[in-house]
Subunit: 249 residues, 2 copies
């Protein structure tokens, strides 16, 4: 398989474009490719091209685009993953996994039981970090689309956005079986594939009762099986289960 | 939630049993519980009990079993996960995830593109390590059943076992879309829930052509979507997708 690089400026066959600095470093320092090497460039918006390395020195790399390639297919259902920020590296892993699975966007949420505040996420430049992880995951899994990482928001704002459909709804909020009376299993829900939806997933400590009440107006509450799933595995399990039910798999 | 401990000797309400050394250490040194503390004990074979700590000192802990508890439900389909041994800690993560998802047994496999040999797994006491991880994952996810880790085998033996039904078959072997002509998507396959099955998952480098040919006689070849899934995420995604199709979720 040709080495793949992210080139947001790639538009048309024949274009000569410069790769972002991080991509140029990967090409020259890690893979040690030289002028003339065949590569593949995707623009993060679904476009993918054969390409040839031109000038390549000191982290500045130009490539000439060749023929457009057929990009890996995107899922038919555009899923926005609204994920409560997890501790340590776990949010990084969820971003990586969700991009691999094919989500259309990722909305980080600060909930009552989330440890980090919006201010701490801002100070730590976490959104920029998740954007780099999204690019890296798209490179690895063969996607030509890099889903945007939306500005982190508190849960109340996300619930309001779902109610007013500024996030795609009705959302599907995943809850522990014990957490909510009105929750249904995926089989009970019998979800037909929507055009788009928001999948809402909580933090390590789960949702608090107020959050579930607030969400119940704008979301459908869903449980998965009888075992307790780890918070950092929940997005991957929920997306795989939904894609299977929607016949994406 | 009561702290949960693995007590393989737990059989009947009223019994006084000793916990395994590792569990005793967890109870006394990590959770610092004393005599009289209420706990919950599961025996790994589906039995779960209220219990009270009796003598607790120096890694030797006795508990008295109270009433039997209703254990978390096991999946209706008994899945044996036949997983090619992955590099580094990734096999540990797959064992942890598969136990959380509810598999009935785990069969580690050495394939053509697996780095470790059976001898290296034996020397490294890897099976014992995976057994400890299975117990730890069952504790965390609320399962009362600890699935066995079967003796690691080379792929040819696993394929033969599937053909002779000494492993539950017909198996479902997951392959890259590009890897095999005869592979079907999960939607094409239209899998009705079997009573039991073996799910076969490959290593980082994928299956070689001989392995796919050999498996095609004993397995159905399955692909999932158009993106490339990481080897260490494949088991979790495949199990979640299958449980969704089988209406376990």
């Amino acid at each position: 398989m040709l080495p793949r690089f992210y080139g947001p400026d790639a538009e048309r066959p024949g274009d000569i474009i410069q790769l972002p600095e991080e991509e140029a470093g990967h090409l020259t320092r890690v893979l040690r490719l030289k002028a003339g090497a065949p590569v593949c460039v995707f623009n993060g918006r679904g476009g993918e091209f054969d390409a040839v390395v031109g000038a390549a020195a000191k982290g500045r790399v130009r490539v000439r685009l060749g023929a457009a390639r057929t990009a890996a297919p995107e899922p038919r259902v555009a899923v926005t993953l609204a994920q409560a920020v997890l501790k340590g590296d776990h949010m990084d892993e969820v971003v990586r996994d969700a991009v691999m699975m094919g989500v259309a966007a990722i909305q980080p949420i600060v909930t009552t039981r989330t440890e980090a505040s919006l201010a701490a996420l801002e100070r730590g430049r976490r959104r920029e970090r998740w954007e780099r992880i999204a690019i890296s995951s798209a490179k690895q899994c063969g996607r030509a689309t890099v889903p945007p990482i939306l500005e982190p928001r508190v849960f109340a704002d996300v619930a309001a956005a779902l109610a007013h459909l500024s996030l795609p709804g009705p959302g599907l909020m995943f809850v522990e079986p014990s957490a909510a009376n009105g929750a249904q299993t995926l089989a009970e829900l019998g979800v037909a594939p929507p055009r788009e939806t928001t999948v809402v997933i909580g933090p390590e400590g789960g949702w608090d009762a107020d959050e579930i009440d607030r969400a119940a107006a704008a979301c459908r509450l869903v449980t998965l099986g009888g075992r307790t799933l780890r918070a950092d595995a929940m997005a991957l399990v929920a997306l795989a289960a939904l894609y299977a039910v929607w016949r994406e798999f």
